[in-house]
């Protein structure tokens, strides 16, 4: 077993065929989503805090086929030697399990998501409350079923709240995919693979502020307006779910 021979997944070719079929479907103006949702309907969200006892705070989130666990450690002594600073540091890391995707992956760190998660949370955390120390936010994607980053962001802010880190507001995040003229909210992995464009928003609903926004594909201003409204509305609803989840453990 020292050197593993080259292997391949038997379902690869099947997937490829399915994806091509799906792309044809998405070109039509009218199609139904595989999970039966309407275009502007999010997947049912399940969130719980206290997923791991070793951490200062943790949360588990399950949105359809996307399952994420986030642990928060600290505030604790920084590992990196630091200059004098009167604010704390936030350190984020996102990694995937090898079995999170249909074909077995490498299970490595996801640098891009790590830095995006950092930016989405940074503005919500009151860093001045833990000077000279670091709060570590580690996310592990158990299963990737689409809209991974928004789920990670929402789950991480729940874990931060669970850890008792001072925040201005919870951060909830939702993305939309664009197919021709259609906007599809909270896309699954299959939908994301064929999208024309995407827009993701992370926001602090109570303050009505956007902490992170990314956009790919070609968009007109009117379309951006529409997509942002859709996302912000969904973020608001998601934040209510997160709030009630936090209240549940408190009572």
């Amino acid at each position: 077993m020292a050197t593993n021979p080259a292997t391949y997944s038997p379902s690869q070719s099947l997937e490829r065929r399915q994806q091509q079929q799906r792309r044809k479907i998405f070109l039509q103006a009218d199609w139904t989503r595989t999970d039966g949702r309407s275009f502007h309907q999010c997947r049912p969200a399940f969130m719980r805090t206290g997923a791991s006892n070793a951490a200062s705070g943790s949360a588990y989130a399950e949105f359809g086929g996307t399952k994420v666990i986030v642990s928060v450690f600290g505030p604790r002594e920084s590992k990196k030697a630091m200059m004098y600073s009167d604010t704390g540091r936030l350190n984020c890391n996102v990694s995937y399990t090898t079995f999170s995707t249909p074909t077995r992956g490498q299970g490595s760190d996801h640098k891009e998501y790590s830095s995006m998660l950092h930016k989405a949370l940074e503005g919500a955390i009151i860093l001045e409350t833990f000077p000279k120390t670091t709060v570590d936010v580690f996310a592990l994607v158990l299963e990737s079923g689409g809209s991974d980053l928004p789920v990670i962001i929402s789950c991480a802010s729940l874990a931060l709240a669970d850890a008792g880190i001072m925040m201005y507001d919870l951060v909830s995040s939702v993305s939309v995919s664009c197919f021709g003229n259609n906007l599809v909210i909270d896309p699954t992995a299959e939908e994301e693979a064929c999208q024309d464009g995407s827009l993701m928003i992370a926001c602090m609903p109570a303050r009505y502020e956007v902490t992170q926004l990314t956009l790919t594909g070609e968009w007109s201003t009117a379309k951006i307006n529409e997509a942002m409204e859709l996302c912000l509305d969904a973020c608001l609803k998601l934040a209510n779910i997160m709030r009630s989840c936090l209240k549940e453990i408190a009572s």
Binding site: R16, Q19, R23, K111, E112, S115, H118, K119, L121, E122, G123, A124, Y168, C178, E192, A193, C194, Q195, D196, G197, S198, L199, C203, M204, R207, Y208, E209, V210, T211, Q212, L213, T214, L215, T216, G217, E218, W219, S220, T221, I224, N225, M228, L232
Partner: protein, 286 residues
Amino acid sequence: MVGLSTGEKHFIHGGIAQDLRSDGRKRLHFRPISVETGVIPQANGSARVRLGATDVIVSIKAELGKPNSFQPDKGKVAIFIDCSPTAAPEFEGRGGEELSSELSVALERCFLGGKTGTGAGIDLSSLIVVEGKVCWDLYIDGLVISSDGNLLDALAAAIKVALSNTGIPKVNVDLGASPDDQPEVDVSDEEFLQFDTSGVPVVVTLTKVGRHYIVDATLEEESQMSSAVSVSVNRHGHICGLTKRGGAGLDPSVILDMISVAKHVSQNLISVLDSEIAAAEANADE
């Protein structure tokens, strides 16, 4: 990264509030931009762009490759940015890695469009040679030589200029007898096809300092930002990509406002770049 004293920070904030920045610019002024093309002869296209003291080089190499099985009718483009230790001592070793990957990701988002390739500044289907068999792989490599803020806009401008300078060799294809054979490809050394750059967008980063936002921030101004929005806009005024940087939250209406300002500024930038490209090519021809 040199820190700033409270007095200096205060001075920068004040200047932006009064619409007179430390180097005399107004909030929506760019620094003088200078463009050179063909700086790397062995590449298919290259450009050096200086924006004040920010200095970047981009080279584009085209190599023949095999298209992705999921997208047999498209070529591939990869963007890599490297922050050289000459720009700042902290880029030494792995120090620049985080910034490099952040810039690469942001540029890919701005130039390559959505998953299906809509809104891509670089038309991937024009890179195909034989469908499903042979395509061009474009390697876009950026090097940050000197950094005085606004790297993303400078790199994006350099990519745009380099693409307009890129010649892709003409290819004669000899399809094999059976469809399974790998087609034989003959790459011409003399004939080059010019790359169509009409759809390539520019990136405008609006940096929010205090209650106002500015374009083309210097390093000192960037250190004072609360957040920034990088918008990539093409010639038609369509948004082709957007990234928010910096942690602080923004009101959605402010973001929409910033997008419309970026759209306006970008059209100026595109025309400035167009004339600079023309001048640079005239220079190169001399």
